[in-house]
C-alpha cells in the first residue's frame, strides 16, 4: 500500500445538549480546527467526505446541508451514511486513489431527535420493527447470549463502565466523567436485562474531523504524520437471529486483515493503546476477544488482570471511550482522533506514555453488525 497518513485532527467537546450550536456550526468548527491543526488552508483540501444520518438530522440528503460548513464548495464531495470510522475508510481509499489531501468530517446531534425511534428504524420494517426492538434492547440480547455462553456476570461488565468513566475524568472533552463503583452500576436503573443505565453510553452532541494525506503531500502539514498502517472492515448478517452474537466473526476478519497489512503478529505485544466502540459496557471485552487480545470468553479477564487499565500494558479507552461520550456517526471517527493524539503524545492527562502503535475501531448496525479496524503508527 502507498503510504498515507493522518495529518490533521479535531473534535468538539461531547455534551448532552449543545443548544448554542447547529449541526452546521459543529461541522464548520471542526473543519476549521482540523485545518488549523494541520497548518493547511481550505484550498489545500482537494476532496471532502461528510458523514451523517438522515434520521438523526431529520432531513433527507443531510450530507448536502453541511457541504459548505466543510469547505466543500466547488470541490469533489461524497458521503458516508454510517459510523465515522467507515467514512474515514472511504477517505483512505480516496487518498490511495490519488487525492492528495482528504477531509473527513462527521457530526451527530442526538439531542435533537429520539434515539429510541431512530434506532428502531434500522431494523427490518416487515419482520422486526413492529416488535419495538431498538439499539438498546438488541444489545441486551447480545449481552445475554455472551453471558450465558461464557458464564460471565453483570459485575464483569460493570467493571468496564467504572474504568472508562474514571478514564473520562482525565479527558475534558468527555461527556460523562464519573467516579463510580461497581455497586453504583449494579444499582442503576434496570432498562433491559442485563443492561442497566450505567452500562449504556450517553446520547451526546458533537463532531470530529480528520485530514488524510498521501505520503508525498504529508510534508505540507505542520504536524507529525500518523501513518495508516492497516485498515479493514467486514460485515456480518443483517438479522441478529442469523448471527452468533457471542462471538464477532466480522471483527475477527477485519482485525486479521488490518493486522496483516500492518505486520502485526502479536496484537497484545505490538499494539500500545486501543480506542474501541463500547456503546454498552459488555462490548469492550467482546470486541477485545474479536481483536485477538484474548481467547473467546476471556475478554473480561483482561480488565481483572489490570491489562486494560491506564497503567496496564494495553490501556483501552484512555479517553473514557464511547461509554463516556457517544455522538452517533462521530464516535468511530473520535476513536481515530484519540489514537492520533496518543501517538503524537498530545493526549495530555490521558496520555499513554510512549505509545507508538494504536488500534481504533468503529461499528455499524445492531450489536456490532459491521466493524472497521484501524492500525495507526508513528512509523511509516
Amino acid at each position: 500500500m502507498e503510504p498515507i497518513a493522518i495529518t490533521g485532527v479535531s473534535q468538539t467537546p461531547y455534551r448532552e445538549r449543545m443548544i448554542d450550536k447547529t449541526a452546521y456550526d459543529l461541522v464548520y468548527e471542526v473543519t476549521r480546527d482540523a485545518l488549523a491543526d494541520a497548518g493547511l488552508g481550505i484550498h489545500d483540501i482537494d476532496n471532502v467526505i461528510t458523514v451523517s444520518n438522515d434520521f438523526v438530522d431529520g432531513r433527507t440528503i443531510s450530507s448536502m446541508a453541511v457541504g459548505e460548513a466543510a469547505g466543500a464548495h466547488d470541490k469533489n464531495i461524497s458521503t458516508v451514511e454510517g459510523d465515522g470510522a467507515f467514512g474515514a475508510f472511504y477517505g483512505a481509499m480516496r487518498a490511495l486513489s490519488g487525492f492528495d489531501t482528504t477531509l473527513v468530517v462527521a457530526h451527530g446531534k442526538g439531542s435533537e431527535g429520539d434515539m429510541g425511534l431512530i434506532t428502531n428504524a434500522m431494523f427490518d420494517p416487515v419482520y422486526q420493527r413492529h416488535l419495538g426492538i431498538d439499539a438498546l434492547t438488541a444489545a441486551a440480547l447480545q449481552a445475554d447470549v455472551y453471558m450465558t455462553r461464557y458464564g460471565l456476570t453483570e459485575e464483569d461488565f460493570a467493571e468496564v463502565s467504572v474504568k472508562n468513566h474514571q478514564n473520562a475524568r482525565n479527558n475534558p472533552l468527555a461527556h460523562l466523567p464519573l467516579d463510580i463503583t461497581v455497586s453504583d452500576v449494579m444499582k442503576s436503573e434496570r432498562l433491559s436485562d442485563p443492561i442497566k443505565r450505567l452500562d449504556c453510553s450517553p446520547i451526546s452532541d458533537g463532531a470530529a474531523a480528520i485530514i488524510i494525506s498521501t505520503g508525498r503531500a504529508s510534508s505540507r502539514s505542520r504536524t507529525r504524520p500518523i501513518w495508516i498502517r492497516g485498515v479493514a472492515h467486514c460485515s456480518d448478517a443483517y438479522f441478529p437471529g442469523d448471527r452468533n452474537l457471542a462471538d464477532s466473526p466480522a471483527l475477527r476478519r477485519a482485525a486479521k486483515r488490518a493486522y496483516a497489512m500492518a505486520g502485526i503478529t502479536n496484537p497484545l505485544k505490538n499494539i500500545d493503546v486501543v480506542e474501541l466502540y463500547d456503546a454498552f459496557s459488555y462490548m469492550e471485552p467482546l470486541w477485545l476477544e474479536g481483536m485477538g487480545f484474548s481467547e473467546p470468553g476471556s475478554g473480561a479477564r483482561l480488565l481483572k488482570d489490570g491489562v486494560t487499565r491506564m497503567d496496564g500494558i494495553l490501556p483501552v479507552n484512555p479517553s473514557g471511550g464511547v461509554l463516556s461520550a457517544h455522538a452517533l456517526m462521530v464516535a468511530g471517527l473520535s476513536r481515530i482522533v484519540e489514537c492520533v493524539l496518543q501517538l503524537r503524545g498530545e493526549a495530555r492527562e490521558h496520555q499513554v506514555p510512549g505509545a507508538e502503535t494504536a488500534l481504533a475501531q468503529g461499528i455499524n448496525g445492531p450489536c456490532g453488525q459491521s466493524h472497521c479496524v484501524w492500525i495507526l503508527s508513528v512509523n511509516q
Binding site: 448554542d20 429510541g116 422486526q128 419495538g132 426492538i133 436503573e189 433491559s192 441478529p240
Partner: protein, 167 residues
C-alpha cells in the same frame, strides 16, 4: 470560540437559543415481496410458520429469504417449521421502547424480547414473550400464540408462551 471577534463570547451569552419543532411523518406502503408474502399469508390463513432452506449450505431461514446471504444463491425449498422452539437469548424489558409508546398493540411492562430457534430452523426468530417471565431462561421451550384477527403481519404471532413442564 471565534478568535477574530473577541466580542462574540459576550454576544452569545445574550442570545437565548431558539428551537424549532419538526417531525418527519411519511407514510410508506412497503411491498413485502413474493417471499415475504408467502410467509405472511401462511401466518394469516393457516397459522403456519414457513421457512426456507438454502440449497447449497442447508441453512433453514425464518423469516424466509430471497437468497442465502452466506452462499449468495437462490433459495427454492420451502419448509414448514414447528410453531414451537427453544429460547436462545432473552432480555426482560423494564422501560417501554420509544417505538411502542404509541402502539395500540403494545405489551405491558415488563415483557421480553427473545431469539427463538424454532424446531427445524437454523437461525433464530426475534419475537416477544409477555407472560410467566419469572420462568423465562435460555433453553426453555416456547410456543407461538396466534392472533384471532390476523392481517398478514408479523404480529399475527401475538407473542410466544412458555410451555409448561419444559426443562
Amino acid at each position: 470560540m471565534n478568535q477574530e471577534n473577541p466580542q462574540s463570547a459576550s454576544w452569545l451569552e445574550q442570545v437565548r437559543p431558539l428551537t424549532l419543532k419538526g417531525q418527519i411523518a411519511v407514510p410508506y406502503t412497503w411491498w413485502v415481496g413474493e417471499t415475504g408474502s408467502r410467509f405472511l399469508r401462511a401466518l394469516r390463513d393457516e397459522q403456519k410458520i414457513l421457512g426456507n432452506r438454502c440449497d447449497t449450505c442447508g441453512t433453514v431461514y425464518v423469516p424466509p429469504r430471497k437468497n442465502c446471504g452466506r452462499c449468495f444463491t437462490d433459495i427454492t425449498q420451502w419448509v414448514q417449521l414447528a410453531t414451537e422452539g427453544v429460547v436462545r437469548a432473552h432480555t426482560v424489558v423494564r422501560r417501554m421502547p420509544a417505538a411502542l409508546l404509541n402502539a395500540a398493540d403494545r405489551p405491558t411492562l415488563p415483557f421480553a424480547y427473545a431469539l427463538i430457534r424454532l424446531d427445524g430452523a437454523r437461525v433464530d426468530l426475534l419475537h416477544r414473550i409477555t407472560r410467566d417471565l419469572e420462568k423465562l431462561k435460555n433453553g426453555i421451550r416456547v410456543r407461538a400464540r396466534f392472533s384471532e384477527r390476523p392481517t398478514g403481519h408479523i404480529l399475527d404471532i401475538t407473542d410466544f408462551e412458555i410451555i409448561r413442564n419444559s426443562p
